[in-house]
Amino acid sequence: MSSEEKILAIPIKPEEHKDVWIYAEVRHGELVPTAFELLHVAKKLSVPLKEKLCAVVIGSGVSKYAQDLIDRGAEKVYVIDHPSLSQFVDEVYANILVDLIVKEKPNKLLMAASTIGRSFASRVAVLANTGITADSTELDINMEKGGLLNATRPTFGGTLMATILCIRGHRPEMVTVRPMAFPQAEPAPGQKGEVVKVPADPAKWKTREKHLKFEPEESQEIDIQQANTIVSGGYGVGGQKGFEILRSLAHKLGAAIGASRRAVDSGWIAYRHQIGLTGRVVRPKLYIACGISGQIQHLAGMNSAQTIVCINKDPEVPLMKLATFAVEGDLFEILPAIEKELDRSPARV
């Protein structure tokens, strides 16, 4: 039987599918906190449907994460724990997840739109003969349509939003969810939940893809996705030297350095700092944008920041209008003045 025949032979019986699943990504041996974001939003879907919220975790030594997932709202956790699953490879992981889907018949499946999630989810969706929406930023249940999932996502570089429906009965309705688009589910330690150990049978797996090595990126800087505060620079920063002024303030605030695509493309700062649709998505408590006009692609990467400060000479640029606090002026005067002000009076403890 060809792969195509196998895929098309999977029956489309929506009435047999139940429960909202999230895939808890494990990257290089660590549970990624996007799992908690997925649990947050999946809970809002499972409640109106009166279905169970379940998590799936695949890897080596990952059984220990089951309780974390339960503490954050999972009622049931499927664990596939095997030493030969220590690193993510699309082929084996997809076969394992598809087998589980075909057997357990979930109704919805949410995965993070990370590097792993975006490629893995698509392979799984085709193999499970179902529909998938990429990079959702809004999710809710469409009760008028019998509990279908409204998956809303930015498309065309963020200039257009589209709501996607999986209308022809394919299940589970799959989505990848943009990291940082939702807050994390808070832990309530000591919750009770069911842990299902799914037997792993390496003899069944195709292993045409092998993970040879992981080379971690060595960086002394604070990562933009971990930071509470980000000082970010755009084209208005003017060059590498301009970023030194941002770094000085960031150092004082314990903040990470972000950048717009134009600043990165101009070669002033490394790609890992890029925030936006073609860069990374962040959700800091405080985002200080310096000389960034706020193209829609940039806004897509930071507009869920709690508080946005925008410093710009031009009060008419989009980000000045979006900002919680808009400061009109020359960033080369304002930023040093902020530093002085921070030195002048001690921060509240």
Binding site: A134, D135, L160, M161, F214, I338, K340
Partner: protein
């Protein structure tokens, strides 16, 4: 070795027009080009061909309306040797499931009727749909291994003629680089860090003009109409709309930079943000 790059013709501008009646993209009159991410895929295929030599060749395939043929000819001018066009009204409105299925049918036809395929290269994603689903989806239909977000092809050993071999690639991760080895045939999706695409050569432009490009509809592909286009797609776009951006923040007052800085710092302290 036979490498196939999947491409898409997409609007060449970010400034899209929305049809107010249907809420969908107005594609008429919009300038179109090869999806920018696919240019890296074409370039990488041509580089591998040049490295391996012999009778290696690069083919490109697209699914799209008649004018998408321009994108295929553009790809030939950039070094591809052959092009195939999946074209027909029945393919319109396809989601990523139906699109990857049609491309799978096309690849299978190329392998059977022309030269067996050893490697498929896709761009990371398109600039209109932004999904990144096609490469991994195509691999699922073919039952081939795949790796996405490839920023380097370190090594490739191909027996040619679809007979196997291996490829070693670097996958760009959030926290570093994964190095993976796959058996051929395989599918990779590449990121823009992988190379700098060349500009079309004069010889390439001549070849592009002359190339005969087969056009295949669903019948030619042997695809069931229930599995192509909008009808064959598990998902539909129920509605589309312009995103609304929240406005109405506060302008920090002050006559000088110092005054503004003082007022801002006071506000941020009040909120316990600094």
């Amino acid at each position: 070795m036979h490498i196939v790059t999947c491409i898409k013709q997409t609007p060449a501008t970010d400034n899209v027009q929305i049809d107010p009646e249907t809420g969908t993209l107005k594609r008429e009159g919009m300038e179109a080009a090869i999806n920018p991410f696919d240019e890296f895929g074409i370039e990488e295929a041509v580089r591998i061909k040049e490295k391996i030599g012999g009778d290696s060749k690069v083919s490109v395939i697209t699914m799209g309306p008649p004018q998408a043929e321009n994108a295929l000819r553009d790809a030939i001018s950039r070094g591809a040797d052959a092009a195939y066009h999946i074209c027909g009204r029945e393919f319109a409105g396809a989601d990523t499931w139906a699109t990857s299925h049609a491309l799978y049918k096309g690849i299978a036809k190329i392998s059977k009727e022309f030269t067996p395929v050893d490697l498929i290269i896709c761009g990371k994603q398109t600039n209109d749909g932004d999904t990144g689903h096609i490469g991994p989806g195509l691999a699922a239909w073919l039952d081939w291994p795949n790796v996405a977000y490839v920023k380097k092809v370190e090594d490739i050993k191909s027996l040619g003629n679809g007979k196997g071999g291996t490829i070693v690639v670097h996958r760009m991760m959030e926290d570093g680089v994964d190095i993976l080895e796959m058996e051929l045939p395989a599918v990779i999706s590449v990121v823009k860090e992988i190379n700098t695409p060349r500009v079309p050569s004069l010889r390439g432009k001549m070849a592009a003009k002359k190339a005969a490009i087969p056009k295949w509809d669903a019948v030619a592909l042997g695809a069931d109409l229930a599995h192509v286009g909008l009808k064959g797609s598990p998902t539909i776009v129920a509605k589309s709309f312009r995103p609304t951006m929240p406005t109405g923040g506060e302008t920090i007052q002050g006559a000088t930079a110092e005054e503004k800085a003082r007022n801002l710092v006071a506000k941020l302290r009040q909120l316990n943000l600094i």
